[in-house]
Structures are given as structure tokens and as C-alpha cells.
């Protein structure tokens, strides 16, 4: 992205923007959980908080830097993988990308109103965020499809085993089989 005022200001306020973005994200969890998920020092004792934080940092830095699509995809993937198994709708799962818009709007209200940040710069940045949101939808859908595919694979594998053992024929009356525990219990 060209070095415009918005990007410069965002770089200067990087820490504050990141903090707000992260706390908004974690704030979506129940209050009892927020205090645990906000502790990000150890990724192994707090995998969600620390991975989300790491990914948000990487995404923001890419947005303010080279905007490498592959790198952004990788970090979006981690967040969407998490959200796709946490019982949230796709819109809620991807909403964090859009949240950055309101964060910028609130933080730089004065600069936007005064024209220090040009409308063009703002629209350009919002466009980028829109693309990211769309990619996030893709990843969410891919993750859900993967879950269904894993389910199907497990069912098929189980089916194959049972078929091999001729156990899928329900007309077989299993009550006539020898009960291996009988003689043990009789004792």
C-alpha cells in the first residue's frame, strides 16, 4: 500500500489499534473466559488467546506493509479454523475483519472529518478489508466442509470394517451367538 496518511497514522498507533482489536475479539467470549484468554504469554496454556493475538498482529502488519496474500491467508486460516468449530455463524466468525473499520473510524474521527485522511485513502483501505472478509468467508466454508468430509470418512472407514466382518446384515440374529462373558459370569 502506498504510504498515505492513514497508513502512517495507523503505524504510529499500531499498539493501541492492536490492543483494541484483540480485546474486541476476545470480548466475544463469556466474561469468565476473557480473563484467561487475554493472557497471551504462553501459547501452550492458552492456545486460543495467543494464536488469535499472533494472527491479528501478523494480519495488521501485512495490511500496513507488503499485503502479501499468502501470508494473510495463513493467519486468517488459524482464526477461522478456531471460529468454525465454536458454534458461531459465518458472519460472526468473519466480523472481526470489519471491526477494524469502526476502530479506525473512532480513533481517527478528527483526521477523517478534517480531511487529513483523504476519502480515497480510507476507501482504498476499506476495500482491502472487504477482500479480507471475503477470504475469511471462504476459509470458514472450507473448514466446515473439511469437518463434514472428516465425518464422512470416519463413517466410510467404519462401514468398510463392518462390511468385511459381515456385520452390516441386521437380519442376523445376534442373540444366538455365543456370549463370551457367560461362562465368566456363571462362575
Amino acid at each position: 500500500m502506498a504510504r498515505n496518511t492513514l497508513v502512517t497514522l495507523m503505524r504510529e498507533n499500531r499498539e493501541e489499534i492492536l490492543n483494541e482489536w484483540f480485546h474486541q475479539f476476545i470480548g466475544a467470549y463469556p466474561p469468565e473466559t476473557v480473563k484467561y484468554f487475554e493472557r497471551i504469554e504462553n501459547t501452550f496454556t492458552n492456545p486460543i488467546g495467543s494464536n488469535v493475538h499472533k494472527s491479528l498482529v501478523a494480519i495488521l502488519d501485512e495490511l500496513l506493509g507488503e499485503q502479501d496474500g499468502d501470508k494473510i491467508y495463513k493467519d486468517l486460516e488459524m482464526i477461522l479454523r478456531i471460529k468454525a468449530v465454536q458454534d458461531v455463524s459465518p458472519s460472526k466468525a468473519a466480523a472481526f475483519t470489519m471491526a477494524l473499520k469502526s476502530i479506525i473510524q473512532k480513533r481517527f474521527q478528527k483526521e477523517i472529518n478534517s480531511g487529513t485522511i483523504s476519502v480515497n485513502d480510507l476507501l482504498e483501505f476499506y476495500d482491502t478489508l472487504d477482500s479480507i472478509a471475503l477470504i475469511a468467508f471462504n476459509i470458514y466454508t472450507e473448514s466446515r466442509e473439511l469437518i463434514y468430509d472428516m465425518r464422512i470418512r470416519e463413517i466410510k472407514e467404519r462401514n468398510d470394517i463392518l462390511q468385511k466382518a459381515n456385520l452390516l446384515n441386521e437380519s442376523v440374529d445376534t442373540s444366538t451367538f455365543m456370549r463370551c462373558s457367560n461362562y465368566i459370569e456363571e462362575k
Binding site: A28, F44, I82, V85, S91, L146, M150, I161, F177
Partner: protein
């Protein structure tokens, strides 16, 4: 006409806490986060109460009219019988040390997955019924009545605990939260509340000796297939015996390793090793299961299923028992078998016929883990290995919960890996007694529960991802058949590029056998990378 939501409304991500407290917020059964109900035919087979067709999503759970009385009587009875339960109900000071230690909590953020709160679901009812303060002041002391919503909550959350016992490691009082789950499941079973992935295997195991319900000839067939594969790969034909009286050792693997990959590869490695050592052992087609889903049902059911191990050992007249690479089986064997179905005074303390090592640790159970047996062989230089056959594999080791926490099996599997393959430890907080569960133990490894499994398995996967990125790890070794079933999808979801294997698969790859042909493939029929490198080198020289 519905009003189109404003972006701000749609995107609102602020969490709105429920208007009611945790005690009064009912659960909602959503697809992907619960297990299907046990089938009536399974319950009929083992004589369990209230067999019927139902699902957790039904409004009417078709409970007996006096279900509250049944459960409260059941709780009273267990409080009298198990001093540990009485203690666990009374001594928790809600310090919170366990709160963020559960993999389901860390992967979901749902406060009722905090072990302390999960236990509180049962404790709140206990207080109301059995403490004076609870009777008089109810809510002030965290007591509540057993209502239908409470019962549904029990079902939801006690089937969201894998009984892995990680939380217990951190409890300053040593409360075994897994035992609280076990008792809660026992109580639920009294009114016919259970899941198919537990009751199916339990009834099949009771009827036919293994979880899948494969009959004796099917068991033999499966071993034959393994022998065919071993012959194709090594050129050596193994000779197995079933139900042979007078053998020195009874070998009991988990059936998951007999019927499903990648467990079968690990089983092949073990059979190859026993052949190479000339071990005098036999298998039983009646006792064709080391695992015991009774552990996830009730004390009595666990005992009934476990009984066949000693009974077969007695019938066949063996000296001692060797158990396979299984997980929860070892909690039953190491902590309960001796007092449930022992004393096994007709057996001898296990002594390795090859090294003469006497396994004093198994003095009372008379049963040792196969990695103990193999590590001892390696220690005495009794096994010839060519680790270069595992070239290309960079492994890590997942401590399966029960062997690690219920029997302290930490070093032996690592010792075997040291001899077979390049491998790297995962970070300290995620291994040994602090190991993270696969997310699918205790009967929760079913396909309908996939979303919950991915949540619960995330802390484990996160640690694997770390060594995958740092060291290029591409193989996750473990000693549990449930792990081998549940970890492959977990890896596919969180850490693509990492496969799952048993420790003895890697040993089998490296094992040099008498009379074997030049190995070209590993136990998965994949070309050996060291050979490919040799050919490339030769080509380069030409």
C-alpha cells in the same frame, strides 16, 4: 417483511451474557457438539435400565416417572459406598487451579467446561440434598434442585469430559475430577441416559469380546491379513496361535489395532518383534479386546468386561499377561483390575523370558505394557535395528492420557523412539503428566461429535503445530488405539502434513528379522526413503 439488519447489528461481536446465571441457563443441543443416544438393543443386551429409542434433541427424554428419586437414591448409595466421592463433594474450595487446565475449556471458552464448574453441576445437587446449609440457604451456598434442565445439563457436560485427568494434576487437594464424571455417568445410566458410542462397544464387547462385535473367526481373519502384509513386506511368514493352552504369555491388544489403520501397522510391528524374539505367547478370540468402555459407563460394567482378561489367563494356564498399545485400558488394569477381579494368584510376576527382567511394578496385576517389554529388550541389546528405514520420518511423541497419568508410563515409549527414529519433544506444558487429550477419549470419539472433538483437541494440535513448524515433524507417535483413531482427523484439521502412528510401527520398520528379504517398503507399503536415496546416489555416480 423482515428488516434488513444494519452492518453494525450484523457484525456486533460483543458477547451478551445470558440474563440468567450459570445455574439457571439451560443447555442447547446443537449438531456437532453432542453424541447420539445409546440404542435400546445395546441396553437390552447388558440389562441396562430404560432401553428406548430417543435422542438428546428430543423434548421428551422418555424418563421413568420417578427419575429424580432413582438418581438421588443412586447418589446416596454411592456416597455411602465410595469415601472418595464424599470427599470430592466436600473438599473443593473452588480455588480455580483446574479452571484453565481442561482441553475442552481451552478450546471452547465455555465456562461449564472448567473442571471446577463441571463438578459443580453435580455438587450443587449434592449440597441441596445432603447438606444442611444447602437445604436451608440453597442458592447462597451454590445448591439447587435436580430438575429436568439440570439433568440435561449433566448429560451435555459429563459427555463433554474425556476423563483424561489433566485437571487432577493441578488440583491442590488431588480431587480426581474424572471420578466425578464417572459417577455422574453412572447416575445418568440409572435412568437410561447414555451414548451410542459407549453403549454399542460395551454391549458388543460383552457379547463377542471386542468393541466392534467382530466374531472369533473375523478376529482370526484380521490377524491373517496382518500376517499376509508382513510376509509381503519382509518375506517372513509368522505363525500365530489362538486360545492355546499352556502358552507362557497371553497377549491382549486393543481391538482398534486389529481392525483399523494406522493401529494395524503398530500391531504388525509387535507381532514381528514377538516372532523375532521367539516369544511363547497366545492370543484369545474370546478376550479379543484390551480396551474397556465399561470405564465410561459404570463401575460394575467395567468389572464385568474386565473379568475376561483374568478368566482367559486362567483357562489357558498362562504365566502372565502382556498388554498392547492401549490408553484407557491401562487405567483399568493399573488402578482397578487387581481389586475388582483379582487377586490373580494363579499367575506369576511377569518375567521377560529373553532378558530375565522381573517386572516388580506388575507384581499384583501380573500384566505389563508392551512398551515396557520392548524397552527392556532394547536395554539388553536383544533387538537388531536399522533406523535408516525410518528416514524421512520426523516424529514427536504424544503421551496418551491414561498410560501417562494413570500408570506413569513416560520413559519406555521415548526409549523405543530413541532407538528407531529422529524425534523431537513437544513443549513441557503439553507432555508427560501434563499431556493434552486427543479430544475424543471416554467414548466421545464419534463422528457426530466432530466439532467438539476439534475444540477439545486444539491444545494438543497447537503443540504439534509448534514442532511441525520448528523441526519439520511429520509423524505423531502415541501408545493408544483411541488416539490412533481420533488424532488423524485432528491433524488434518489443525496441522495438515502430520500423520499418526503407534510406537511399534516405527520399531517394526526398523526391526531386522532373521531370513527377511531386502525391505523396500515400510509397514504402510510406502517405498523406503533410504533406498530411494541410495538409488539416486548410484544414478549420480553413474
Amino acid at each position: 417483511m423482515a428488516k434488513l439488519p444494519k452492518p453494525a447489528e450484523l457484525l456486533k461481536i460483543d458477547y451478551k451474557p445470558p440474563e440468567t446465571g450459570w445455574m439457571d441457563t439451560p443447555v442447547e443441543f446443537k449438531p456437532g457438539t453432542y453424541s447420539y443416544a445409546g440404542k435400546p438393543e445395546s441396553l437390552n443386551l447388558i440389562g441396562f435400565p430404560n432401553p428406548r429409542t430417543w435422542q438428546p434433541t428430543d423434548d421428551d427424554w422418555q424418563l421413568p416417572e420417578n427419575w429424580q428419586e432413582i438418581i438421588l437414591d443412586g447418589l446416596r448409595d454411592r456416597l455411602e459406598r465410595f469415601r472418595s466421592l464424599k470427599l470430592f463433594m466436600d473438599i473443593c474450595v473452588r480455588c480455580g487451579a483446574c479452571a484453565d487446565k481442561c482441553h475442552f475449556y481451552l478450546g471452547s471458552g465455555d465456562p461449564k467446561n472448567m473442571p471446577v464448574l463441571r463438578a459443580e453441576l453435580l455438587r450443587s445437587v449434592y449440597r441441596k440434598e445432603y447438606t444442611l446449609a444447602g437445604k436451608l440457604m440453597a442458592k447462597m451456598v451454590g445448591a439447587r434442585e435436580l430438575t429436568l434442565p439440570v439433568l440435561k445439563e449433566w448429560f451435555y457436560y459429563f459427555f463433554q469430559c474425556t476423563e483424561c485427568r489433566r485437571c487432577s494434576v493441578f488440583c491442590p487437594y488431588g480431587i480426581d475430577t474424572a471420578e466425578i464424571t464417572m459417577i455422574a455417568r453412572e447416575l445418568l445410566n440409572l435412568v437410561g441416559l447414555n451414548i451410542d458410542w459407549v453403549m454399542g462397544p460395551v454391549s458388543a464387547c460383552y457379547m463377542k469380546g471386542n468393541h466392534l462385535g467382530i466374531q472369533p473367526h473375523g478376529v482370526v481373519d484380521s490377524f491373517d491379513m496382518a500376517l499376509d502384509d508382513i510376509e509381503d513386506i519382509t518375506g517372513v511368514r509368522l505363525d500365530l496361535s489362538f486360545n492355546r493352552k499352556g502358552a507362557e504369555i497371553l497377549y491382549v491388544p486393543p481391538s482398534g489395532d486389529v481392525f483399523a489403520t494406522p493401529g494395524t501397522y503398530s500391531l504388525m510391528g509387535q507381532l514381528m518383534l514377538f516372532h523375532e524374539m521367539g516369544l511363547d505367547y497366545t492370543l484369545s478370540t474370546y478376550n479379543s479386546e484390551g480396551g474397556n468402555f465399561g470405564l465410561f459407563t459404570s463401575n460394575e460394567m467395567m468389572k464385568r468386561l474386565n473379568a475376561k482378561i483374568y478368566a482367559e489367563a486362567k483357562r489357558l494356564g498362562v504365566k502372565w499377561i502382556l498388554g498392547g498399545e492401549c490408553g484407557h485400558m491401562w487405567r483399568v488394569i493399573n488402578q482397578y483390575m487387581d481389586t475388582m477381579n483379582g487377586p490373580a494368584d494363579f499367575l506369576e510376576v511377569p518375567v521377560s523370558p529373553i532378558t530375565g527382567t522381573r517386572f516388580e511394578n506388575a507384581k499384583s496385576t501380573k500384566m505389563i505394557h508392551v512398551t515396557e517389554f520392548t524397552a527392556d529388550l532394547l536395554r539388553h541389546n536383544k533387538i537388531k535395528l536399522d533406523p535408516s528405514r525410518n528416514k524421512g520420518i520426523i516424529a514427536t511423541y504424544h503421551d496418551s492420557c491414561n498410560p501417562a497419568r494413570a500408570m506413569g508410563l513416560m520413559e519406555e515409549p521415548r526409549y523405543i523412539l530413541d532407538h528407531c527414529v529422529e524425534w523431537h519433544e513437544m513443549p513441557e506444558d503439553t507432555i508427560r503428566e501434563k499431556t493434552f487429550c486427543c479430544g475424543g477419549g471416554a467414548g466421545l470419539g464419534n463422528d457426530e461429535n466432530m466439532e467438539m472433538r476439534m475444540r477439545g483437541g486444539f491444545p494438543r494440535a497447537n503443540a504439534v503445530k509448534y514442532v511441525h513448524e520448528k523441526h519439520g515433524v511429520n509423524m505423531l507417535a502415541c501408545v493408544c488405539a483411541i488416539d490412533r483413531a481420533t488424532l488423524p482427523p485432528l491433524m488434518r484439521y489443525w496441522v495438515p502434513g502430520v500423520e499418526v502412528c503407534g510406537v511399534h510401527e516405527l520399531l517394526g520398520n526398523a526391526l531386522i528379522m532373521k531370513g527377511e528379504k531386502k525391505r523396500e517398503e515400510n509397514l504402510r507399503f510406502e517405498p523406503l526413503q533410504n533406498l530411494e536415496d541410495e538409488v539416486a546416489e548410484e544414478d549420480a555416480n553413474v
